[in-house]
């Protein structure tokens, strides 16, 4: 089988169906909007940062929020390249690398902030927030902090909801991770605001507790993403865009192949290359002459036609399904259950 050569013209992003092309253009636009919003909000929060640990945690989370959109934009450029002699599978893994980079940053910062805030709580460090003079009036800086947090709480949620839909259409896990973080951002902002109000009420510990909550949420995001990114890079079975379940495409392809009259048995293994899947289907023909090259090619074209993600696919005719490539075979075919 040498499908790679024939596929070369359709592999890569040029082969995206119209729906996905639209989604990709929209996703790029919304990621730029996200970056612009983040630039404004980090600057705003930086101006009123002061001595609050919760504000510091919220600000660092804002800074980290730059990573997913930037990785997404870089990755979408890289994967546009066509497969080459040195990269026969294409550049789709760039998405996984971007995902990993963003996840590691989240874990490191979340862990650091957790320890830092915990220490502040243990050493009973009282956060100091004094006055600020604006237009000849000196008032408590904490009010500005609360205002900044409330102003920056809403927009990311909207961005998150929009990008979440696009992530599903594009089967893009970086975009999903980004949208997920944005959607949870209002809790960070609100926790920081509550922490600062707590300081205002003389509850010095409220700030550290709010910071602990925020850093836990950063760490939680990080670990979740790290797991997903490593899973993708180490060839876990392809899962849906939100990692909630095995992707149904594998089951559909198996069902289709098994339904062909010349096929006795068929099983596939599917890995996620980033946006698209790499699929190897093993087929046992009823009788060897039945598996003509024409039939195999037709079956392959039908499978590829099922989903835009299924372009890099090979069908391997075999006499017996190979247990070593299809683990779980003897346990009654649990691969896609």
């Amino acid at each position: 089988m040498n499908n790679g050569e024939k596929d070369a013209a359709r592999f890569g992003h040029t082969a995206l169906p119209p729906e996905q092309q639209r989604a990709l253009r929209k996703a790029v636009k919304w990621e730029w909007i996200t970056i612009i919003f983040l630039a404004v909000s980090t600057f705003l929060v930086y101006l009123v940062l002061g001595n609050s640990q919760a504000m510091k945690a919220a600000w660092i989370e804002d800074m980290l929020s730059f990573l997913p959109p930037i990785s997404f934009l870089v990755a979408t450029r890289v994967i546009r390249r066509r497969p080459s002699e040195s990269h026969p599978y294409g550049y789709h893994r760039a998405v996984g690398v971007a995902h990993l980079v963003a996840a590691v940053a989240l874990v490191v910062m979340g862990g650091y902030l957790l320890v830092d805030s915990g220490l502040k709580l243990v050493t009973a460090e009282h956060p100091t927030i004094g006055g600020i003079t604006l237009l000849g009036n000196t008032f408590w800086l904490g009010w500005l902090m609360v205002l900044a947090m409330l102003l920056t709480a809403g927009p990311p949620v909207v961005l998150g909801i929009i990008k979440m839909k696009l992530a599903k259409t594009l089967h893009d896990k970086v975009l999903y991770a980004d949208a997920d973080m944005n959607k949870a951002d209002w809790m960070t902002a609100l926790s920081a605001a509550v922490g600062v109000l707590g300081i205002g009420m003389g509850l010095w510990w409220a700030d550290s507790v709010a910071a602990l909550i925020i850093s836990t949420s950063i760490l939680h995001d990080g670990i979740k993403n790290l797991r997903g990114a490593i899973g993708g890079l180490t060839d876990t079975r392809a899962r849906t865009y939100d990692d909630s379940e095995p992707h149904p495409l594998g089951e559909r392809i198996d069902a289709y192949l098994q339904s062909l009259p010349w096929v006795r048995e068929a099983r596939s293994r599917v890995r996620d290359e980033g946006h698209v899947f790499h699929i190897e289907s093993f087929v046992v023909p009823r009788k060897w002459p039945g598996a003509t090259l024409r039939r195999i090619e037709k079956a392959r074209e039908a499978c590829v036609g099922m989903d835009w993600k299924a372009q890099d696919m090979v069908i391997v005719p075999v006499t017996v399904l190979p247990e070593e490539f299809l683990p779980g075979l003897t346990q009654g075919g649990g691969e896609y259950r």
């Binding site: 460090e125 100091t128 004094g130 003079t133 000196t138 609100l190 109000l197 707590g198 009420m201």
Partner: protein, 159 residues
């Protein structure tokens, strides 16, 4: 993860408390309340025209004068405590002083032991570097700090 139903009660509690007439910010250790009509414990460390310590009598200079005026607004007497910067920072940290002066700059290394006011004036040192002048206060006594900030920002400090 924090959910909306976990956050809302806290916000309501805070709103409720603040509408019950609690002024924000408050001092965790009640400094402003204690010194008002009482005694302000001020640490002094000699530093050029900012703090001068004559052989007898009260400290003189730009900052002691400011502090005396501030104490008047609180109807407070002053207890002067002389020490090195290190001693003053340590006393602030342990709640044994309410305020420390000594020509401190905003880039003071005592930031771990004490809170600082907003800069109330700026000078240029002999190396051409701008020094923003501040006073040191106990960490986290935010009502007291805000009161002092409001007083200092309203002053025209002549050099």
């Amino acid at each position: 993860m924090l959910r909306i139903h976990e956050v809302v009660p806290w916000l309501l509690l805070l709103l409720g408390l603040s509408s019950c007439g609690i002024a924000i910010p408050q001092d965790p250790e009640g400094t402003l309340e204690r010194v008002s009509g009482g005694t302000l414990r001020v640490g002094v460390s000699e530093n050029a025209e900012w703090v001068q310590l004559p052989a007898s009598g009260d400290p003189e200079g730009i900052e002691p004068e400011l502090v005396e005026e501030f104490a008047d607004t609180l109807d407070a007497g002053i207890e002067w405590v002389q020490g090195t910067e290190h001693e003053l920072a340590d006393d602030l940290h342990h709640g044994e002083l309410d305020l420390a002066i000594g020509g401190f700059g905003a880039d003071t290394p005592w930031i771990k032991d004490a809170g600082i006011t907003r800069p109330y004036t700026e000078t240029t040192d002999e190396r051409g570097k701008t020094v923003k002048h501040v006073m040191l206060v106990p960490l986290g006594e935010n009502a007291f700090l805000l009161k002092l900030d409001q007083f200092l920002q309203a002053q025209e400090v002549q050099l």
